[in-house]
């Protein structure tokens, strides 16, 4: 008996796994039929980001530093009150075209100061930012952030363009996507009609680009001219949103241009190298049938 089991052990194990999977399959199928999953508003009315064309797109992409600088201005004047940018240092701004003196001035004039200790008393204190500092946190800790923002923590923006599906396009769509749920339609279907019970919880805001449709952040860019651009670009909501998306793409991937340039050199080098090795290989094998 034991030897018989051992002899056919593979069939027994295989059949066992297959059988249990059949039971599971039966369970899943009957659940699907008897209790089909109900469509939720999140599935039906969530929108994929609209395409956004940026100078940094594609294998030749580099940054349009004028746009990135405008985006920095939007961050500074609108976003920075709540959102940190903790991976980025003021000195990094030199890479988007600010001079050393400008960077020093930006750091020194930054509204939120760096935490420090009083040299005489040891008490917590603050000091002005210097170029080598990273951008200061708007809130001392998560508790303070929650308390000031209706129990939601404003996420750090340094990596936002890499930390969300869709990247900068998502940021742009989200910033410009606030709308009224009562009149919102998608694919010819009206949210109010399909889901009459749908409500936006108090303190949240309807935005179809946000995964669960209700976002804690109130619309940050509300009117044209909210920011005064120095280069004469008209500061429409759409323009400001595009610019800050371009800026956040830069903060997430500051070495993109260098990476693309290095990549081109590497690929050309490797193409030649591969061609040479292929030639050498053909020569070495010449006359040898294989």
């Amino acid at each position: 008996m034991v030897s018989l089991i051992l002899r056919y052990i593979n069939y027994i194990i295989g059949a066992a796994f297959a059988f249990v999977l059949l039971i599971a399959l039966w369970g899943t199928a009957s659940e699907l039929i008897t209790n089909p999953p109900k469509a939720t508003a999140e599935e039906e009315f969530h929108l994929e980001p609209e395409p956004l064309a940026l100078h940094s797109d594609g294998p030749f992409g580099t940054y349009d530093y004028r746009q990135v600088q405008r985006g920095f201005q939007v961050y500074k004047e609108v976003c920075s009150a709540c959102h940190s940018l903790k991976q980025v240092a003021f000195r990094d701004l030199e890479k988007i075209g600010y001079s050393e003196a400008q960077v020093k001035a930006i750091a020194a004039g930054w509204q939120i100061e760096q935490p420090d200790v009083n040299k005489d008393t040891g008490e917590p204190a603050t000091r002005p930012n210097v170029a080598s500092d990273r951008f200061p946190l708007p809130f001392a800790n998560d508790v303070a952030a929650r308390a000031a923002n209706n129990n939601a923590i404003p996420p750090d923006l340094s990596l936002m363009a890499k930390a969300r599906e869709g990247g900068p396009a998502y940021i742009h769509s989200l910033l410009t996507g606030y709308t009224d749920p009562k009149t919102f339609t998608h694919d010819g279907k009206s949210l109010a009609k399909e889901f009459p019970d749908f409500t936006v919880p108090t303190g949240l805001h309807f935005n179809p680009y946000f995964p669960n449709l209700n976002i804690a952040m109130p619309p940050p860019l509300t009117q044209d001219g909210q920011v005064q651009y120095q280069d004469g670009t008209r500061a429409t909501v759409d323009q400001m949103s595009k610019d800050v998306s371009a800026f956040l793409m830069w903060t997430a991937e500051p070495n993109l241009a260098k990476r693309h340039a290095t990549g081109f050199g590497a690929v050309i080098f490797l193409l030649i190298f591969t061609g040479l090795t292929f030639g050498a290989y053909r020569n070495i094998w010449r006359g040898i049938k294989h």
Binding site: A89, F273, K289
Partner: protein, 200 residues
């Protein structure tokens, strides 16, 4: 005539019929074969060399380390004869307020007696001759010399004394005795006001 040996080494069936097998490759072919192999191997070598650069360069100070380049020192409160220890680029920095006696001692030494000849003037800023600002790193092997702290051994020349190997510095922090080759290093700094210095 193909010998038996040749057949064994180069079994006929495998030679694709490309010209006369007895003559083998022409000289030109041989040269091209060598050239291609050598070129491919050279390319691999160059490629490896280029890839080695970032692998080596990554050990150099990173951007955040390089950015920590300046230190502010507040001189108010340092009485003549006193010194403070602070830090500059993660290294100890000695800031010393020399007494007139110490200045006189330093100036009395003839340059010919010095291992690393420098005057006190050269080691301080004009108009601030009493402020001696040096790194607290012994030029022998990098220990922190004594003499900046209250009550520490200032050594036989009244400046700094390194307990590791017995290097003694004078009141201008110049090397006078012991194995150290150079004077204590004076970093770049400037007076932003009478009582404030920016080092670096």
């Amino acid at each position: 005539m193909a010998s038996v040996d040749e057949t064994l080494e180069n079994p006929d069936p495998f030679l694709e019929k490309e010209g006369d097998s007895e003559h083998g490759d022409t000289d030109g072919d041989v040269r091209r074969r060598d050239f291609l192999s050598i070129a491919a191997v050279s390319f691999a070598g160059v490629g490896a060399g280029v890839v080695a650069l970032p692998l080596i360069n990554q050990m150099n100070p990173s951007a955040d380390v390089l950015a920590l380049s300046t230190t502010e020192v507040d001189l108010a409160g340092i009485e003549p004869g006193q010194a403070i220890k602070t830090s500059f680029r993660k290294q100890p920095l000695f800031v010393r307020n020399l007494t007139p006696k110490e200045i006189a001692e330093a100036e009395a030494v003839p340059l010919s007696e010095l291992r690393d000849p420098q005057t006190l003037e050269q080691r301080t800023k004009t108009g601030h001759k009493n402020w001696l600002i040096t790194l607290g790193v012994c030029t022998h092997l990098g220990c922190v010399p004594l003499g900046a702290g209250e009550g520490e051994n200032k050594g036989p020349f009244g400046g700094y004394f390194c307990p590791c190997h017995g290097s003694a510095y004078d009141t201008a922090a110049r090397i006078r005795q012991g194995p150290a080759p150079k004077n204590l290093f004076v970093p770049e700094y400037e007076f932003t006001s009478d009582t404030h210095v920016t080092v670096g």
